[in-house]
Amino acid sequence: MNIAVLQFPGSNCDQDAFQLFATGLGLPTRFVWHKDTKLGDADLVVVPGGFSYGDYLRCGAIARFSPIMAAVKEFSEKGGLVLGICNGFQILCEAGMLPGALIRNSSLEFRCVTCDLAVEDAGTAFNTRVLGRRIRLPIAHGEGNYRIDDAGKAQLEANGQILLRYVDNPNGSMGGIAGIRNEEGNVFGMMPHPDRAFERFHPSSDGIAVARAVLSVRYPDLLKKSA
């Protein structure tokens, strides 16, 4: 198992994501700089949170053209697992690797709170058994208001592509959507931060289960090892 955490100029949750996988799950984890053109050996690519390129133009709009993103796209097209958290989710939407877009919170406020999230049935791609029905994760974003056209939303619902919904919608997202996956079930994006929910001083430890939910369908031994 090999976890690759991308780093863009302006990423600021890269260390958190690294620690989630390296110390939280005890997996070999390394950073990949955005100017690299190759991912190397990787089982999961994590696109971390932050403010890549200062959020200029639109959140994630410039990062998606970083050299490494061509390799990430190719990796995902071959079925490789990709997880985008917060700004990482925005980047994956901008790159067209996930449907929809994230706009300004309807309140216009930057929201930094811990949220109750309902775990949705996202089919076999996301192991919800390790999560239960409700989890708590922190959010910290100004542009987490998920938007997609009606046909796209109907497709997300019909395919079970919605991973998480806010119990109390903090940002105006359509349908309270907090996280989704692609149709194929190997690219995941969420605004809440599993990477800020695993240490004793964090508001919850549900981040570990989210990481496992992403990995354990493909790598079931991961659950055995930790059980």
Partner: protein, 81 residues
């Protein structure tokens, strides 16, 4: 040649910024306001002549980078030769 690219939120997409600016305009006494949309303008200065190829390239750049077609519309104006 100067090109002005206008990017605006799509009509059917919520524009929280536009709503807030609209409220402020009303509180400053503007009457009869029916809508406010906030977008952005990107100004380019280019050492190239207008051509169908250039416009095709501009359209692609507008779709790929300058706007996000999921939530935004764009159009541009070309001035000079």
């Amino acid at each position: 040649m100067k090109i002005k690219v206008f990017v605006t939120p799509k009509k059917n997409v919520l524009d929280p910024q536009g709503v807030a600016v609209g409220h402020a305009l009303e509180s400053l006494g503007l009457k009869g306001l029916k809508g406010t949309r906030v977008g952005k303008v990107v100004e380019l200065e280019l050492d190239e002549a207008d051509s169908p190829q250039l416009r095709a390239q501009l359209d692609k750049l507008c779709r790929d980078l300058l706007s996000n077609p999921v939530i935004e519309d764009y159009h541009y104006e070309i001035a000079g030769k």
